[in-house]
């Protein structure tokens, strides 16, 4: 995988780095991957650059991504489905992201957005988790879905029911 490059304060190209980090919040250990880069440390009191020491720095976009990852970790810790769980489920039963969105009653891109950016709402994440963990619920939603033709309904239902048997 190609590494993202960033410019340091002195305009030198540097790699975007990744590291697993954790944070305790309301008794939960939230673990996720954070992105950052290294640049010379700045003393926050004096404003002097220490060219003998580097420390973690974050661009605005990196902070944005890290906050999303943190919130996603929090939602998962509180019972929401993780993006990888959703992807595994879809792969196993050969359901496209847009089709799963429609079956669950979301707009077409919801599942795809969650898979790419993480769960943004705890109730949504929990509903998805409940459906992934209980195929009888998702089977029922398939039967009730107005946007799938009967052939498609039968096809997906068969794949799900094979597993249940």
């Amino acid at each position: 995988m190609e590494t993202n490059k960033l410019l340091t304060r002195e305009n030198h190209l540097t790699d975007e780095l990744h590291g697993i980090t954790d944070k305790m919040y309301k008794g939960l250990k939230l673990e996720y991957t954070e992105v950052f880069y290294l640049d010379y440390d700045v003393d926050e009191e004096t404003g002097l650059i220490n060219r003998n020491k580097t420390s973690k720095h974050y661009t605005k976009s990196q902070v944005d991504r890290n906050i999303k990852a943190l919130k996603n970790a929090y939602h998962i810790a509180k019972g929401a489905a993780s993006p990888s769980e959703i992807i595994n489920f879809r792969d196993k039963y050969q359901i496209s992201a847009s089709m799963l969105s429609i079956i669950l009653g979301f707009s077409k891109n919801t599942i795809s957005n969650i898979e790419n950016e993480g769960v943004t709402s705890l109730p949504t994440g929990r509903l998805i988790k409940m459906c992934l963990d209980n195929k009888a619920i998702i089977y029922k939603y398939i039967q009730l879905c107005d946007d799938l033709d009967s052939r498609k309904k039968e096809e997906i239902s068969r794949r799900l029911m094979e597993e249940i048997k």
Binding site: R9, E10, K23, Y25, F36, V42, E44, E45, T46, G47, L48, I49, S55, K56, H57, Y58, T59, K60, S61, Q62, V63, D64, N66, I67, L70, K71, Y74
Partner: protein, 131 residues
């Protein structure tokens, strides 16, 4: 970090700092976060749903009235550093906001954005020059 006394000259110094901050942001310079600022924003994000954009807006909207401490008049440092009081997010959370402007470059470096540990006096607040 020193707190500049309330004089027209010092107010002009803070205004100059804020004007330069806004100029850099409007020219497309993004704010850089130190490790501490990144850690603190995590707490604000989880507790109050504060986002990066809220911090950027707070920085852009500072006025001399929000000044708390900073700016070394000797100007010998690599960064001019200044601290302000700000309210952010939908809950209007009051925070201590400290950032620096690189003197020989263009970086805007945010070092603190946290709920203050003690009341912050704002020496330039309600000061009307020439009135």
């Amino acid at each position: 970090m020193v707190q500049l006394p309330d004089t027209p000259e010092n107010s002009a110094l803070v205004q100059e700092f804020l004007d330069e901050t806004r100029r850099r942001i409007s020219n497309g310079i993004d704010i850089t976060f130190t490790n501490k600022a990144n850690e603190e924003l995590k707490d604000l994000a989880l507790d109050f749903n504060v986002e990066v954009a809220d911090i950027e807006t707070a920085i852009e909207n500072r006025s001399t009235e929000n000044y708390f401490r900073g700016i070394d008049p000797s100007r010998k440092a690599d960064f001019e550093v200044c601290a302000f009081s700000a309210t952010v997010g939908k809950d209007n959370v009051r925070i201590y906001l400290k950032f620096g402007l690189e003197v020989q470059g263009l970086q805007i470096l945010l070092s603190f954005n946290h709920v203050p540990d003690y009341p912050m006096n704002q020496p330039f607040k309600n000061y009307q020059y020439g009135d």
